[in-house]
């Protein structure tokens, strides 16, 4: 089961996501938490130690590839299996949480 959390900026989305991930992790022993925000804060709400926060891995862009499809369209897909992405780039947190941070806006106007 995967659960996505949406809302306006500042609505407390990340707080809800963090607490929910911890609760589910405690219940099931293992859970993947994905931070899809360009200003990633989920690590804090999940309770990762401060020392970890500054050296969190983010997902490199080359895990995706574009493949051409019929009619001149392209399709974006993962180059490596999702399980491997999580093993390689995930950070372990409390209650069986494995955090995957997708990206961070490094420079204004980039990307």
């Amino acid at each position: 089961m995967n659960i996505a959390i949406a809302g306006k900026g500042g609505s407390g989305k990340t707080t809800i996501a963090g607490i929910l991930a911890r609760s589910l992790g405690r219940k099931y022993g293992r859970i993947i938490a994905i931070d899809g925000d360009s200003n990633p804060n989920l690590a804090l709400t999940l309770g990762l130690p401060r020392a970890e926060l500054t050296r969190l891995q983010t997902l490199p862009r080359d895990v995706l590839e574009q493949t051409p499809e019929e009619g001149g369209k392209t399709r974006v897909r993962l180059k490596v299996p999702a399980g491997e992405v999580i093993e390689r780039f995930g950070t372990a947190g409390p209650d069986g949480v494995k955090l995957l941070v997708l990206g961070r806006v490094e420079h204004a106007g980039a990307g």
Partner: protein, 141 residues
């Protein structure tokens, strides 16, 4: 940013297809991720709603897009509730847009305290009403 959106979408698709992993995804704020189909593969979508017009208006548009994407289980989560009026505003919204509320989370001191300390509410205030409300939500999914 399209790559990040595509990454979430493909990751969710792969997680659903490959190994049925349990995952929680904190989507980018706002609507763009929905218009790009980012949570297409989500089993459950939680829309966090604050009792203000702008938040509810964003929630309404998210709800529309999520229904277009065909997400089966969509719930509202009332957040930062400070009064009965706050709660009533969200209930009215839920009723008029035919969306079920899965939790009502109070704006409590535990959350504020955790925010100030830069720590998790689960560690700072495990017994606060807000943490308990989300914990109950987790049990209900």
């Amino acid at each position: 940013m399209w790559r990040a959106h595509a990454t979430v979408r493909e990751l969710l698709g792969a997680l659903v297809g490959e190994n049925r992993e349990l995952a929680v995804v904190d989507l980018e704020a706002g609507l763009e991720n929905l218009s790009r189909g980012t949570p297409r593969h989500a089993d459950v979508l939680l829309i966090v709603l604050e009792p203000y017009f702008k938040s509810l208006e964003t929630g309404r548009r998210i709800l529309e897009l999520a229904r277009e994407l065909g997400i089966q289980r969509i719930y509202g989560v009332a957040n930062k509730i400070r009064s009965q009026e706050d709660e009533a505003a969200i209930r009215d919204f839920a009723r008029s847009h035919q969306v079920e509320l899965s939790a009502t989370v109070l704006d409590d001191e535990g959350i504020l305290s955790a925010d100030r300390q830069g720590r998790s509410p689960v560690d700072v205030a495990p017994d606060s009403p807000a943490v308990r409300a989300v914990h109950d939500l987790a049990q209900s999914l």
